[in-house]
């Protein structure tokens, strides 16, 4: 795979990559164009593939009419905290589940998998009552807590898979060298697993970033709203406010795109070649 590619292979490769990029990007392009059309001409028909005239009204109204900056800040804070904490906790549990045999292991894994199968609305009522009793309603910490709980099962399952790809001879050797299990985990395995961990973190982040139902249920005040709630707010019973919604979507997608860009660098290059040789 490291030898040079022949020209036809290269052409096919570039063609495929370009084709997929066009398919993926078209909806984004459409949102982007819509966000720069002035509100009255979004519905114009026949369709216009470029805004005429260009207008930034949708963006300005987003900040002047609503506290979109605050929502973004809230989403960023809650999602980052929850994704980081969720990944860390899952790393520990995934390690145990990947490396050791014990009686409850199968049941535990199944219990984690089952959380992915149950429709959320079943839990929403009791959850709200519980959060009221814990005095965690309308608090970012409360929401972050629920997001951590949401992240853990999926993240554990996923990281466990990555642990399986790393030979355990690696930490055996380290522990023989006198490292504790924990430091073996963090000093030896974690660096090798960086791609998987980054992938897990990113997925946690995106899941939290887009989460709607828990956020709507838990948050009341405008100053605690997150982005999905605000985005959904543009759909009312008699109208979809396409302009501001498109603008908000563009702004929502940007941070995640940046994350993907940074992370994919880690995912593909985080591994120093040879570390896995065991």
């Amino acid at each position: 795979m490291i030898n040079r590619q022949s020209l036809p292979v290269k052409v096919i490769r570039v063609a495929l990559l370009t084709l997929w990029m066009l398919i993926t990007l078209f909806p984004l392009y459409w949102i982007l164009v819509t966000s720069f059309k002035d509100p009255g001409s979004i519905a114009a028909f026949p369709l216009r593939y470029l805004p005429q005239p260009w207008s930034i009204e949708n963006y300005t109204s987003l900040f002047s009419k609503s506290s979109f900056g605050v929502y973004m800040g809230n989403s960023l804070l809650v999602s980052l905290c929850a994704a980081a904490a969720g990944t860390l906790i899952s790393l520990l549990s995934a390690y145990v589940l990947a490396r050791f045999e014990f009686r409850a292991k199968g049941a535990l894994l199944l219990a984690f998998l089952v959380t992915q199968m149950i429709p959320a609305f079943i839990a929403l009522g009791p959850l709200y009552v519980m959060m009221v009793n814990l005095n965690l309603v309308d608090r970012k910490g409360g929401l972050a807590l629920l997001y951590i709980a949401m992240c853990i099962p999926f993240c554990t399952i996923m990281l466990r898979g990555f642990f399986e790809n790393v030979p355990d001879a690696l930490e055996e050797a380290a522990m023989v060298d006198g490292c504790s299990r924990l430091s073996a985990l963090f000093r030896i395995i974690v660096p090798v697993m960086t791609p998987g961990i980054m992938a897990a973190f990113i997925f946690n982040f995106v899941n939290c970033w887009n989460e709607l139902f828990l956020s709507v249920t838990l948050m009341n005040s405008d100053s605690n709203k997150t982005i999905p709630t605000a985005l959904n707010g543009f759909i009312s019973s008699f109208n979809i406010e396409w302009g501001p919604m498109a603008a908000a979507s563009v702004l929502t997608i940007i941070p995640t795109m940046v994350m993907f860009a940074l992370a994919s660098r880690w995912i593909v290059e985080g591994l120093t070649s040879g570390a896995v040789k065991g």
């Binding site: 002035d38 509100p39 009255g40 001409s41 519905a43 114009a44 028909f45 026949p46 009419k65 609503s66 804070l77 809650v78 905290c81 929850a82 904490a85 860390l88 906790i89 520990l92 609305f121 929403l124 009522g125 709200y128 009552v129 009221v132 005095n135 309603v137 309308d138 608090r139 970012k140 910490g141 409360g142 972050a144 807590l145 951590i148 504790s180 299990r181 924990l182 709607l212 139902f213 709507v216 249920t217 009341n220 005040s221 405008d222 100053s223 605690n224 709630t229 959904n232 707010g233 543009f234 759909i235 009312s236 019973s237 008699f238 109208n239 979809i240 406010e241 501001p244």
Partner: protein
């Protein structure tokens, strides 16, 4: 060594459960001795929330010591959130109650009965008879005071009907079919009628049937005729649905099988569709359109049937108080405020039929697209206002079923006769319990 592992694990758990860095204080605390009301809306939209905030600021400055926090969940999720709050008995003092939700909410004992407060309130006399009527639930108690009413009118394109050789907009369903069919020309991207085949598509079918049975309809239960049978077995009903579904085959965009409100409004808004049957809320949206100018469109009264009558199904929503509220007195005060002069501001900004008698005299409601609503009010014998059984427990079940049946007819999997038969059976079965 092992202890360190424990400590780290325990520390990460503590971090997870407390997250000091992530939590910021609760915002529900009002300053010393003040009352803070939480008010939850349901039919949320950004413009409306802004209007509400202005009105609430007025209320706060007129009532020092009362603060109001407006909670504006997205419409789609709002009623579920309100349910959770009411069920948990926490979070809502004042809330938006709809004709669709007042039944279950009051039945579960979640709503405060305002009857006694309303008796003491002088503002009640200023409400229109309709508003007074709808402020009483079927059990005679007052759970909410309407903030306005929704009702259908026909939005039409003045220029397109002129081009097609008609001098006036249609007044009945047959004329609508004729005019819309003549205007329809898909090769030019021109369509007659913005058909509703998707969500809530059953509403216009029922409106059409109700117009056709105008002579015999039971106005207090618009799904029944005066002889106690359902309107769906009336002989005129067959004629009504046949005309109505011809609108789809002859005069509507083919993909309107799946059209909900956004597509319908958009189709009219972008200038490609000549007729649209909708609530007044749409007026504001169309006013903002740059594809059609104000002299290109108008509204006409609701379409009549062969009897020369039309039935206007009234829909409403309003403000009520949660039984679990610890600040009932302040909450009632807020509801009364919102049902006073503030209601006219609210109705105007949101394009609603207002609840105050004085609002009828307002120039705003006499001109332009609103004129047809005045016409309808002035001719109560032609434009009957009727009460649909929107509060029954099975209303949403009905709505889902009926929408499904409408689409079955549209994709030729069901005949109109079968549709009527199954609708009749549905209601008779429910009425007989």
């Amino acid at each position: 060594m092992k202890r360190r592992q424990f400590i780290l694990a325990a520390a990460s758990l503590t971090a997870a459960t407390t997250l000091p860095g992530c939590s910021s204080g609760s915002s529900s605390s009002g300053g010393g001795g003040d009352v803070t009301l939480q008010m939850v809306e349901s039919l949320t939209n950004p413009t409306r929330s802004e209007v509400l905030k202005k009105l609430l600021a007025e209320f706060e400055s007129a009532n020092p010591g009362i603060k109001v926090q407006l909670v504006s969940p997205p419409t789609e999720q709002a009623d579920q959130k309100i349910q959770q709050m009411l069920q948990a008995g926490s979070g809502a003092d004042v809330l938006e109650v709809r004709d669709l939700t007042v039944g279950p909410f009051s039945n579960n004992g979640w709503l405060y009965d305002m009857t006694a407060d309303v008796e003491k309130w002088d503002g009640f006399a200023n409400l229109t008879p309709q508003a007074q009527k709808y402020s009483k639930h079927t059990d005679g108690k007052t759970y909410f005071i309407p903030y306005g009413f929704y009702g259908l009118s026909l939005f039409y394109r003045t220029d397109l009907i002129k081009e097609a050789g008609f001098s006036a907009p249609p007044t009945n369903w047959d004329e609508l079919l004729t005019q819309a069919s003549k205007i329809q020309d898909p090769s030019k991207n021109r369509y007659g009628y913005a058909f509703r085949g998707g969500k809530n598509g059953n509403g216009n079918v029922v409106a059409c049937i109700e117009a056709y049975v105008g002579d015999t309809i039971d106005r207090e239960n618009a799904f029944k005729t005066k002889d106690g049978k359902s309107i769906f077995v009336a002989p005129e009903a067959q004629q009504a649905v046949d005309t109505y579904f011809q609108l789809f085959t002859k005069a509507s965009p083919p993909s309107s099988v799946a059209w909900g409100y956004p597509e319908m409004v958009e189709g009219f808004n972008n200038g490609s569709t000549a007729f649209l049957l909708q609530d007044p809320e749409v007026i504001a949206t169309i006013n903002a359109s740059k594809s059609i100018t104000k002299d290109q469109w108008n509204t006409a009264p609701l379409l009549t049937g062969p009897s020369g009558k039309a039935s206007q199904p009234v829909a409403t929503a309003g403000w009520g108080v949660a039984k679990s509220s610890k600040n009932t007195e302040a909450a009632v005060k807020l509801v009364e405020f919102l049902s006073g002069d503030a209601s006219t501001t609210f109705a105007k900004e949101n394009s609603l039929v207002p609840i105050l008698k004085t609002a009828g005299a307002d120039e705003f409601y006499k001109t332009g697209p609103w004129a047809s609503y005045v016409t309808m009010t002035e001719q109560p014998d032609t434009y009957l206002t009727v009460v649909q059984p929107r509060g029954v427990a099975w209303w949403t079940e009905w709505s889902t079923k009926a929408d499904n049946d409408v689409q079955q007819v549209l994709i030729n999997k069901m005949s109109t006769a079968e549709l009527l038969k199954s609708w009749d059976e549905f209601w008779v079965k429910k009425w007989n319990g």
